[in-house]
Symmetry: C2
Subunit: 344 residues, 2 copies
């Protein structure tokens, strides 16, 4: 293992005191970058995800262009249901479609806990290539969806505001739901372990739809399985959990032993710290839509955010993925304001 030139993110996640706050942005390798759009015009979504050279090139773009302190592998949480045997279509700007979703006991026979090296080797190849091309400049973040969020797509078959069919599946066929959640969990653990082996420096678990559940349901349907993943990974790598909207469970999420906890902009830094306690690194929480503001407003608001989090135990990020219509210099203003903060 060679030493990283910039290991701010990892040192922060380990609880060490750092010279400044590290910063990266969810979906930083994405549609707001013209360089990404050029590749998007030439190659289909899964072509970009499954071709290590393309995935690596896209992953590295924001390091060169925006100057973030970490790279996050260009991929998608839905490669997991795909590897489990479900067809996933990703129609650009229309969101994912799973044409044959899981609805019954019989449907479960169509999927399996796969050998991740047989089904997802392209991810591990992309990680190796990215690490090589990053040349130790910054750490590489791996990721997977939380089992509940993956179930949402596997059952609903597409995006949704409420994921009511996914919830109904859990409420009406709880045994089947837990069977499916366990299969996703087992796949995800093997998948993340193999990501670590391939070279990622830390992993983030995205529970994009955790906030649709009540506190009790979040514990029973989501956190129970996230906990298994954290347990299996936390001694091998640094683990960040991000369950958007699940403010009510910050305390329980912190208790999993994860190293970092993502939060969205609907909770104030001081309140999040109170709920999560002092033994975990917080990550977030700039409103992605606020990057559409004029640059002086962005600078002012980012400083306000940084002040709210105080010094240490903190990674600057957005509260959700960057929006496609954000100007590149606005994204850069966000990152620069963080990078210059402690020096200012």
């Amino acid at each position: 293992m060679s030493a990283l030139k910039n290991d701010l993110l990892l040192r922060t996640l380990r609880g060490e005191t750092t010279e400044r706050v590290p910063v990266w942005m969810m979906r930083q390798a994405g549609r707001y970058l013209p360089q990404y759009m050029q590749l998007r015009e030439k190659y289909g979504f899964f072509e970009r995800v499954q071709t290590p050279e393309l995935a690596a090139a896209i992953t590295i773009q924001p390091i060169d262009i925006i100057g973030v302190d970490a790279a996050i592998l260009f991929s998608d949480i839905l490669v997991v249901p795909q590897a489990m045997g479900l067809e996933v279509q990703l129609i650009e700007s229309k969101g994912p479609i799973l044409p044959e979703p899981i609805k019954t006991k019989n449907d479960l026979k169509r999927i399996r806990v796969p050998d991740v090296h047989e089904t997802l080797q392209y991810v591990f190849d992309a990680i190796k290539l990215t690490k090589q091309e990053l040349n130790d400049r910054v750490p590489l973040i791996g990721f997977a969806g939380a089992p509940w969020t993956i179930l949402c797509y596997m059952v609903q078959g597409k995006g949704s505001k409420t994921f009511d069919e996914a919830k109904a599946f859990c409420y009406t066929q709880p045994e089947l739901a837990h069977q499916l959640l366990q299969m996703i969990t087992d796949t995800t653990i093997a998948y993340l372990k193999a990501q670590v082996k391939a070279g990622v420096d830390t992993v983030q678990i995205f529970d994009s739809w955790g906030g649709l559940l009540s506190k009790d349901d979040f514990e029973n349907i989501s956190l129970k399985y996230i906990r298994q993943i954290v347990d299996a990974l936390k001694d091998e790598t640094l683990v960040i959990i991000f369950a958007k909207g699940a403010w009510h469970s910050l305390e329980s999420m912190a208790a999993t032993g994860a190293h970092g906890l993502g939060i969205d902009w609907c909770i104030e830094p001081e309140v999040a710290r109170k709920f999560a306690g002092n033994n975990i690194i917080l990550q977030g929480n700039f409103d992605p839509a606020k990057l559409l503001s004029p640059i002086p407003v962005i600078e002012k608001e980012v400083k306000h955010m940084l002040k709210g989090f105080g010094k240490g135990n903190y990674i600057a990020n957005l509260g959700h993925g960057i929006l496609p219509n954000v100007p590149v210099d606005h994204a850069k203003a966000f990152v620069d304001t963080v990078r210059n903060y402690n020096l200012g």
Copy 2:
């Protein structure tokens, strides 16, 4: 004013001790009812909204079929932007489209604060007819959207998960945004006052997209205007505020002097009570998707909810509108469990 046979809702909102918990459901006059679907096949959306006989018939359906303790006028929050001069199309099961949204200073010239009696008289006629046909069985709830939620549609021009264009409008053109919010507020105050004059017994302000804002933005963009509406209405009628997802501002919302506060299922009753204090009636908060569960599960979960809220100062409701795919007997099980609770 004649005495209502069932005034549980009003007595609860006034803070009186009642013999049992009142219950109604957001969107109770809606697509899960076959009787509603029959009228929906024959008449277009705005035909149903604008024809007092149809609106009254639809409003009364859940009183007869489900046995709720209050009627809520069948209408739509988007009649306000329509009255202000914007075209609103409501394509069934596709959501609203406003083909010429507000984007610039110039666009503001296309709208006005209207004379509500000129533009929305059909609503007041529907209220009068509904009151007559309800024959004092239960109270009638009037409603309007919160100014921020209305702005969302007026600027974004359609539904959205993030309402990023509406937010960007507020962040990049704050003066214009506040001008628009004030126009919506002025219209809404006149509209709700006329609803009260026409006969509604209480009004609810729906801030469906309040939860997309940070606490600071919610105060500045949304609550500031809700406060004006509450101030103008609270001495004339009983006022309920429902800002979905805005758990962080329950204390500030309670401080407006509103009588009731709606909450969603992502906050536990005890926590909501702690945040909101003891001087306001709470309303909510059953997860609408949970009505897709088997009836015994619904009964168990409703009792759990009722226990959580404790006795008094509480109106049973869902945490958002009822879903179109809920079986009628499941909706009835929800209502019956509440109605029988204190007797059981």
